[in-house]
C-alpha cells in the first residue's frame, strides 16, 4: 500500500500489461479502433498513467479514452481524459477506489430515501443496489445504456463539471423501472431485469429530463455532505479488509482466528487496550508515531486534520473492539453449541452402545439359561445312563460269574470227559491187549491142539476134498466153540457170527450181509493192530463182493480165514519180540 510508485518508469510498465489486455477489449469490432486507433488508445492511456501514477490505469478508462478518441484528436482526448479523471472522478479509479465505494453508499441512501418501497423489496430479495449501480457509475453508463442515452448523460455530466449527473441518472432509472422491479420474486430476476431495462432505455430525452428535473434536490453540496458521512465507514472497512487479509494470511484462516479468540479472549482485549493507550499517548505526541504504530494506510494522508484523524481512529478502534467482542461472543456461542452437539452426539452414541450391550447381555443370559437347561437335561441323561450302566455292570458281573461257573463246570466236565476218554482208551487198550492176548492164547491153544492132534492138522483140507467141507469145518469149530464163547463173548462176536453165518448162509441173504459186516470187523481189528490204513478199497471190494462170494464161493472163505489167521500169528510174534 505504501509502495505506490511515483512516476518511475517501472510504473508505466506495471500498467502496460493491463492496457495491452484491454486494447482489443475496448469497443471490439468498432471500425475506428483499427491498428492506428488501438495505437492511439495505447498512447493515450499510457500517457495518463504516467501523468497520474496514483491512478495509473484502471479498467473503464479504456472506454472513456476510446469514446474521446472517437470524438476528438489524440491530444484533446488526453486533456479531456485528464480533466474527467482528475477533476470529476478524483479518488474514484485509484488503487483503493474509495470514492467509488463512498458514492455507492451515498446512492443507496438516496434511493432508500426516494424509493422506500422499492428498497424494501430489494432488501427482502437480498439485492444490493450497488450490484447494478456500481458498474453503472464505474463505466459512466457506457455499455449499460444505449449509446444515445450514454452520450446525453455524458453531455450533462461534462457540462455540470461534477458527477452529480451519475446520481440523477441512476435515480431516474430507478424511478422508471422501480415499479417493474417490485414485481420480481428473486434476486436474480431483479438484477437481470434492472440490467436489461436499463440497456433498453432508448428514450434518452425522457431519461435526461427525469434525471435533471426530477432530482434537482440532489446537488453537489448534498452529495458532499453524504460522502463525508459515509467515507469513514468505507475507509474503516478498507482497513479491516487489509487487516483481515493479513490476519487471514498470518493465522491461515478465519477458523483458527475464531479459535484463538475463543481460547484466550483476555490477551486480545488487553492487546486492544494497549493499542488504545498507544493511541492516547500518540495523541499528545507526534502523529508520525501514531502512523508507524498503527500502520495506517496512505489514504489517511488525505484526511484534513490530525484531530479528525484521531477521532476517526478512535471510532474505528471502538468499532474494532466491538467487533472483536462480538466475535468472541460468537466464538463462545459456537463453542457451547459445538460442545452441546458433541455431548448430544456422545450421549446418543453411549445410549446406543448401552442398548446394544443390554441386548447382548440379555442374549447371553438367554443363552446361559438354555445352556443350564441343556446341562440339567444332560445330567439327567447322564444319571440314567450311569444307572443303566450300573445295572448292566451288575448284569455283566453276574453273567461273568455265571460264565465262570459254567466254564468251571465245562472244565470239570471236560476233565471228566477226558478222564472218561482216557479210561475208555485205557479200556480199549486193555481190550485190545486182552483180545490179542486172547488170540494169542487161541493160536497157542490151536497150535497146542495141532500138536495134540497131528493127523487132522497137516491136512485139514483132505477131508474137505473127501467129505463135505462144511462138515469138517463144523467139526473143527464145534470143538473149540464153547470155550471161545465163554471167554470172548463180548469181543469176538465176529468169530461166532462168522461161524453162524457160515452155517446159515444158504438160508438167508440178510444173514449173509450180517456176516459180511462181521467179517469187516474181523478184518478191521488186525488193521488196528498193524496200523495200516491203505487197504480200505480192498475192504470195500471185499464188502461188496462178499455177498456174492457168500453165495457163489463159499468154499474159499475158510482159506481166507486161515490166511488171515496166519498173518495174525506172524504179527503176534513180532509184538512178542518187541
Amino acid at each position: 500500500m505504501d509502495g505506490k510508485p511515483k512516476g518511475s518508469p517501472f510504473s508505466s510498465e506495471k500498467w502496460k500489461g493491463q492496457i495491452e489486455k484491454d486494447l482489443p477489449r475496448t469497443f471490439p469490432g468498432h471500425p475506428a479502433l483499427d491498428e492506428d486507433g488501438r495505437n492511439a488508445l495505447r498512447r493515450l492511456l499510457t500517457a495518463y498513467a504516467r501523468h497520474n501514477p496514483s491512478v495509473g490505469y484502471c479498467q473503464a478508462m479504456n472506454f472513456f479514452a476510446g469514446l474521446l478518441l472517437l470524438l476528438m484528436p489524440e491530444e484533446n482526448a488526453f486533456w479531456a481524459l485528464t480533466g474527467i479523471m482528475d477533476d470529476y472522478f478524483d479518488g474514484y479509479f485509484s488503487e483503493e477506489m474509495i470514492e467509488c465505494q463512498v458514492d455507492q453508499l451515498v446512492l443507496e441512501e438516496l434511493v432508500r430515501e426516494k424509493f422506500p418501497k422499492l428498497v424494501n423489496h430489494l432488501d427482502y430479495l437480498g439485492v444490493q443496489v450497488a450490484w447494478v449501480t456500481g458498474p453503472w457509475f464505474l463505466s459512466i453508463f457506457m455499455n449499460m445504456l444505449p449509446w444515445e442515452s450514454v452520450l446525453r448523460v455524458w453531455d450533462v455530466l461534462l457540462f455540470d463539471g461534477n458527477r452529480v449527473m451519475l446520481f440523477r441518472t441512476a435515480l431516474a432509472l430507478m424511478e422508471l423501472y422501480g415499479p417493474a422491479l417490485v414485481t420480481t420474486k428473486d434476486a436474480g430476476d431483479a438484477v437481470t431485469l434492472l440490467q436489461s431495462l436499463a440497456g433498453s432505455t432508448f428514450d434518452s430525452s425522457q431519461l435526461v429530463l427525469t434525471a435533471c428535473m426530477g432530482y434537482q434536490a440532489v446537488d453537489e453540496a448534498r452529495l458532499q455532505e453524504l460522502r463525508n458521512k459515509h467515507r469513514p465507514s468505507v475507509i474503516s472497512s478498507m482497513e479491516q479488509r487489509a487487516k483481515g487479509l493479513r490476519v487471514w494470511r498470518d493465522t491461515n484462516g478465519l477458523a483458527s482466528k475464531l479459535y484463538n479468540f475463543k481460547r484466550d479472549p483476555e490477551p486480545l482485549v488487553s492487546l486492544s487496550a494497549e493499542q488504545l493507550s498507544d493511541l492516547t499517548e500518540t495523541s499528545s505526541g507526534s502523529t508520525d508515531d501514531m502512523y508507524s504504530g498503527l500502520t495506517v494506510n496512505t489514504e489517511i494522508d488525505s484526511l484534513p486534520d490530525p484531530k479528525d484523524q484521531l477521532v476517526w481512529l478512535k471510532v474505528e478502534l471502538c468499532q474494532l473492539l466491538e467487533e472483536r467482542r462480538s466475535a468472541v461472543l460468537r466464538a463462545d456461542e459456537l463453542e457451547t453449541a459445538l460442545m452441546e452437539m458433541v455431548k448430544q452426539d456422545n450421549r446418543r452414541e453411549l445410549s446406543a452402545k448401552v442398548e446394544q450391550l443390554e441386548q447382548e447381555l440379555s442374549d447371553l443370559r438367554q443363552a446361559l439359561l438354555d445352556k443350564q437347561e441343556q446341562e440339567q437335561a444332560m445330567l439327567q441323561v447322564l444319571m440314567r445312563v450311569e444307572q443303566e450302566q450300573k445295572v448292566t455292570e451288575d448284569a455283566r458281573i453276574f453273567a461273568e460269574q455265571d460264565s465262570a461257573a459254567q466254564k468251571y463246570a465245562a472244565h470239570v466236565l471236560q476233565e471228566k470227559y477226558e478222564e472218561a476218554m482216557a479210561s475208555l482208551a485205557q479200556m480199549e487198550n486193555r481190550a485190545v491187549m486182552a483180545e490179542t492176548m486172547l488170540e494169542a492164547t487161541l493160536q497157542y491153544q490151536s497150535s497146542q491142539q495141532k500138536a495134540q492132534l497131528p493127523s487132522p492138522s497137516p491136512s485139514p483140507r483132505t477131508p474137505t476134498r473127501d467129505a463135505s467141507p462144511s462138515q469138517v469145518n463144523q467139526d473143527s469149530s464145534q470143538e473149540f466153540q464153547p470155550r471161545r464163547i465163554s471167554l470172548l463173548a463180548p469181543f469176538s462176536l465176529g468169530w461166532r457170527d462168522k461161524n453162524k453165518g457160515k452155517q446159515n448162509v444158504s438160508d438167508e441173504s440178510t444173514n449173509g450181509k450180517l456176516n459180511s459186516s462181521t467179517e469187516q470187523i474181523v478184518v478191521d481189528t488186525p488193521k488196528k493192530d498193524d496200523e495200516k490204513q491203505g487197504d480200505s478199497p480192498q475192504e470195500g471190494e471185499q464188502k461188496v463182493d462178499t455177498p456174492r462170494r457168500d453165495t457163489e464161493q463159499r468154499l474159499e472163505t475158510p482159506e481166507i480165514t486161515t490166511n488171515s489167521m496166519q498173518g495174525q500169528e506172524e504179527q503176534l510174534e513180532e509184538i512178542k519180540l518187541d
Binding site: R25, P28, F63, S139, G188, V191
Partner: protein, 207 residues
C-alpha cells in the same frame, strides 16, 4: 419466501486475473456462444442459469467480476452470501496462476463465510486450446498441487473457445454450491418454507 430463495438460488462468484476468460467461460456456459470480442468487464456482470441437479431445479446466479486487482476493493459488495467461488487462471500465463492465492484469500476475507475452511472453491485452468497447448506454462500437476494445498479443490481444465469441460465444470460448481447451501441451512437452523413459487415463475429457461 426468503428461505425458499435461499434454497433455490445459488450464488457463484467467478474470480481470476484480467483476461483469463471469466466472461468467455460464463457466456459459453450460459449462452453457448464464444466471441473473440468481449468487452472488458467493469465492476461485475451478472447472469443466471437454471440447472437440474438431483431432480432439483436450481438457479445459478453467476457473478462475473472484473479482473483488475483494484476491483477487489468492491468485492465485499458482491462476494457476500456466495455459495461457491470459481477461480479461473490462464494456463498460458504464469502470473494468472500466481495470483490465485490472492484471489482465494481475498475472497474468504471479504465474503467472510461462516466456514472458511470448508467453503467450496473450484479451480478452472482455461485456454487449454491456445496454440494446441504448446504455449502452456502452468502444468496440470502444478495446478493439482495448488488445489491439494487449498483443501482438495476440484480442478477442471477448460476451453471456453472450444467448449471443453465448461458444462461439467459448472455442473460441479452447482453441485458444490448446493451442498454448501444445504450445510448452511443446517448450520443456521433455518426453517424450511414452501419452495414451490420459485419454480413456478420461471417459464422460459435457457437450459
Amino acid at each position: 419466501m426468503s428461505t425458499s430463495r435461499r434454497r433455490t438460488l445459488l450464488k457463484v462468484i467467478v474470480l481470476g486475473d484480467s483476461g483469463v476468460g471469466k466472461t468467455s467461460l460464463m457466456n459459453q456456459y450460459v449462452h453457448k456462444k464464444f466471441s473473440q470480442q468481449y468487452k472488458a468487464t467493469i465492476g461485475a456482470d451478472f447472469v443466471t442459469k437454471e440447472v437440474l441437479i438431483e431432480d432439483r431445479l436450481v438457479t445459478l446466479q453467476i457473478w462475473d467480476t472484473a479482473g483488475q486487482e483494484r476491483f477487489q476493493s468492491l468485492g465485499v459488495a458482491f462476494y457476500r452470501g456466495a455459495d461457491c467461488c470459481v477461480l479461473v487462471y490462464d494456463v498460458n500465463v504464469n502470473r494468472s496462476f500466481d495470483t490465485l492465492n490472492t484471489w482465494h484469500d481475498e475472497f474468504l476475507n471479504q465474503a467472510s463465510p461462516s466456514d472458511p475452511k470448508t467453503f467450496p472453491f473450484i479451480l478452472l485452468g482455461n485456454k487449454i486450446d491456445v496454440d494446441g497447448g504448446k504455449s502452456r506454462v502452468v502444468s496440470e500437476k502444478k495446478a493439482m498441487e495448488w488445489c491439494a494445498s487449498k483443501g482438495n479443490i476440484p480442478y477442471f481444465e477448460t476451453s471456453a473457445k472450444e467448449d471443453r469441460n465448461v458444462d461439467s465444470a459448472f455442473l460441479s460448481v452447482a453441485k458444490l454450491a448446493l451442498e454448501h447451501e444445504r450445510d448452511q441451512d443446517i448450520y443456521f437452523q433455518t426453517v424450511v418454507a414452501d419452495p414451490v413459487p420459485e419454480v413456478e415463475q420461471r417459464s422460459g429457461c435457457a437450459c
